[in-house]
């Protein structure tokens, strides 16, 4: 199935969880925030979220800024 991950069309296997998708990014989970279809998914709940075709996922972190 196809997701829109940070604005980019991305393939993911059917039934993939948020955790698996995030995991593939190799990020330190402690410093990211995730939004699925406009709603924040709390940090501990990624494993329980099964994604669906067309889901819009935003994975953000904190970067240098003023």
């Amino acid at each position: 199935m196809q997701l829109l991950l940070n604005g980019s069309a991305t393939e993911a296997p059917e039934g993939a969880t948020l955790e698996s998708v995030i995991g593939r990014l190799g990020l330190p989970v402690a410093r990211v925030a995730v939004e699925r279809n406009g709603a924040i998914v709390p940090r501990g709940q990624y494993a329980g979220v099964v994604l669906a075709e067309g889901d819009v996922i935003e994975v953000v972190t904190l970067v240098g800024g003023g």
């Binding site: 991950l5 940070n6 604005g7 980019s8 991305t10 990014l25 190799g26 990020l27 330190p28 410093r31 990211v32 925030a33 995730v34 939004e35 406009g38 924040i40 709390p42 940090r43 935003e58 994975v59 953000v60 972190t61 904190l62 970067v63 240098g64 800024g65 003023g66």
Partner: protein, 263 residues
């Protein structure tokens, strides 16, 4: 009383009146050293998408964590209240902090704030439990509304972001500071050199927030130290009560007892 002692908001006392940004440094090493030299205990960060290709690279967050600094996520780049609220919530989730510097930009070329959107975002975020520090202009009528909306401080600009032009309207800042004694006033944006920071503090500001003025200097570490001292100097001068300006001279040495005088 907000004006005395150190800078406080949201129940926390910062040890410093200088808050610094973390963007635009030539390297993480320089960023770290400059932030340390600034003496700041709170720093701003932006909320941005993770870059999909990269993994595991050292980031500014490692530096900030290591230095045990309070983190103030901003909503830079947001042009509506809704965007700012969304980014603020993501920032809280990522940063585990209730603090947020709210920016709602109203003009791309000048990055001047949209105060209408800012007020709306501030109201929403205050209700949502945030400690809100809104980036605004030097309009005291807006500042009073932000205060009434529950902002923890107001952060008027001195000049456009990154311009380094210094305090453009000292009168308006002074009037705003007088009008808002209840919460801290932090001059945010436009500081280009040490005297700009000192001037902001001499007007009675409770603090100064800057980024480009330090990060963009030829030697960011030296400039960070300069800014730290200038903020302290300006604050001390404000508290010390400067002499009045006089249109003519007045001697500093005694006018009597001159050699060769007739008594």
């Amino acid at each position: 009383m907000a004006r005395k002692g150190s800078l406080m908001f949201g129940g926390r006392e910062l040890g410093s009146r200088l808050i610094v940004g973390t963007g635009k440094y030539p390297s993480l090493v320089v960023a770290r050293r400059a932030i340390e030299a600034s003496g700041a205990t709170m720093v701003t960060v932006a909320v941005r998408r993770v870059e999909l290709g990269k993994r595991g690279e050292p980031s500014i967050l490692d530096v900030l964590t290591d230095l045990k600094l309070a983190i103030l996520p901003n909503t830079a780049g947001c042009y509506t209240a809704d965007e700012a609220v969304r980014v603020a919530r993501l920032g809280r989730e990522a940063g585990l902090s209730e603090l947020v510097k709210v920016e709602v930009i109203g003009d791309e070329k000048t990055l001047l704030p949209d105060n209408e959107g800012l007020l709306q975002a501030t109201r929403t975020l205050v209700k949502d439990g945030f400690v809100v520090l809104p980036y605004t202009n030097d309009d005291l009528v807006v500042a009073k509304r932000l205060r009434d909306a529950g902002a923890a401080a107001v952060m008027p600009l001195g000049a456009p972001i990154g311009s380094g032009l210094g305090i453009q309207n000292a009168l308006n800042l002074r009037l705003l500071i007088e009008a808002i004694p209840e919460i801290p006033v932090i001059v945010d944006a436009g500081v280009g050199t040490a005297s700009d920071a000192a001037i902001a503090m001499e007007l009675g500001a409770d603090g100064v927030l800057m980024n480009t003025g330090i990060a963009g200097a030829r030697d960011p570490v030296a400039m960070a130290r300069a800014m730290r001292l200038a903020v302290e100097a300006g604050r001390l001068a404000y508290e010390a009560g400067r002499i009045e300006k006089k249109p003519y001279a007045t001697a500093s040495s005694p006018e009597t007892g001159r050699v060769g005088g007739n008594r």
